[in-house]
């Protein structure tokens, strides 16, 4: 009996894996339809945080060479725009369930990379940007509902997501010098 059970046990040990997959969920933009005229709704420059990782794996935020450790804070402050500065993202009053009429930021983060950028660095940057957004959602959730964002129910989570949307867009790849 025990022998058979051991045999099965060893089979399952060899044939299965335990690791559950984790990862950063992203939504790719659809390919624009060439037949449909694109209304180029240009996003106001002040609403875009331009993040770029070049081929030497150096980080540029709005064209300025920046340390990776500062990125989270920069993104955080950019989205929040606490003092309503004119060169930081605009806010629009939108009605959101649970919150009422609230100023919602129009901030967009644009992430660009070079062909030579290392994937690991790219993911680190993605991670920092998502972390900055999650931090803000968490702050909001704690302030409004008194619980961390992770413990909210789906409806409230959705409301918080609507309040701090901040899409992280992956720019159309550019091929320079080919």
């Amino acid at each position: 009996m025990a022998d058979i059970a051991f045999l099965l046990l060893i089979f399952f040990l060899a044939a299965t894996t335990m690791d559950s997959d984790t990862g950063l969920m992203r939504q790719l933009p659809a390919i624009p339809d060439p037949n449909v005229p694109q209304d180029i709704n240009k996003i106001n420059d002040r609403n875009i945080l331009e993040v770029k990782v070049n081929k030497d794996n150096l980080l540029l935020v709005e064209g300025q060479l920046t340390e990776f450790s500062q990125l989270r804070e920069i993104a955080h402050d950019f989205i929040l725009n606490a003092n309503d500065e004119p060169n930081m993202p605009e806010k629009e009053i939108i009605n959101i369930a649970y919150f009422g009429d609230v100023p919602v930021t129009k901030a967009v983060i644009s992430l660009q990379n070079d062909i030579g950028t290392k994937y690991g660095v790219y993911i680190a940057v993605q991670n920092e940007l998502i972390a900055a957004r999650t931090e803000l959602r968490d702050e909001l959730s704690r302030r409004e509902f008194g619980v961390p964002y992770e413990r909210l129910d789906e409806d409230r989570k959705g409301a918080v997501d609507d309040y701090i949307k901040v899409p992280i867009s992956e720019a159309e790849p550019k091929r320079i010098g080919e």
């Binding site: 009996m1 025990a2 059970a5 051991f6 099965l8 046990l9 399952f12 040990l13 044939a15 299965t16 894996t17 335990m18 559950s20 997959d21 984790t22 990862g23 950063l24 969920m25 992203r26 939504q27 790719l28 933009p29 659809a30 390919i31 794996n57 990776f68 450790s69 990379n113 070079d114 062909i115 030579g116 950028t117 290392k118 994937y119 690991g120 660095v121 790219y122 993911i123 680190a124 993605q126 991670n127 920092e128 998502i130 972390a131 999650t134 992956e170 790849p173």
Partner: protein, 159 residues
């Protein structure tokens, strides 16, 4: 004291193993419950990057996997050391992605087709050039939901 000396000479009684199958079955059921079947043999070296914000993949049945990395040493004689794309059990080219996605989508229920997710398991040292090309191919195949696989850690080492 006399009692103590008396027992010393005797052989040790055999261990009662009648509960051993129960224990082993218990371990067996534990492993059957918490593990999943290995589906593909990965033929490339993939050291997925670390991140703190990763979400757990909940429905594995909706996911298709694409691996990108340097071929394992056993395959290097044939395929070289440049990063290769692996889907299912074979090395593929960018041009094959569209077919692969169509084929994977075919296997899903009608209701699940829109929920299809592509999990990208990419080595951390891969250059973004190939990753971007794969992403563009996925867009053309309208597989827009993707997941960059990573290992969840508490703190990441920033470059």
């Amino acid at each position: 004291m006399a009692k103590f000396i008396k027992t010393r000479g005797k052989s040790v009684k055999a261990l009662n193993t009648s509960s051993l199958p129960d224990i082993v079955f218990m371990i067996l059921f534990f492993f059957m419950a918490v593990t999943t079947m290995r589906e593909t043999d990965v033929m490339v070296t993939v050291r997925i990057p670390d991140a703190t914000e990763g979400k757990v993949l909940e429905k594995k049945s909706l996911a298709s996997f694409i691996y990108i990395g340097e071929p394992l040493e056993a395959f290097q004689a044939l395929y070289g050391t440049e990063p290769k794309i692996q889907m299912n059990d074979t090395f593929k080219e960018i041009a094959d992605i569209q077919d692969f996605i169509a084929q994977e989508r075919e296997q899903l229920n009608e209701a699940d087709k829109t929920k299809m997710l592509v999990v990208l398991k990419i080595d951390r040292d891969t250059k973004m050039g190939v990753v971007t090309e794969v992403k563009q191919a996925l867009r053309r195949a309208s597989a827009l939901k993707i997941m960059y696989a990573n290992t969840n850690v508490d703190r990441i080492v920033l470059p």
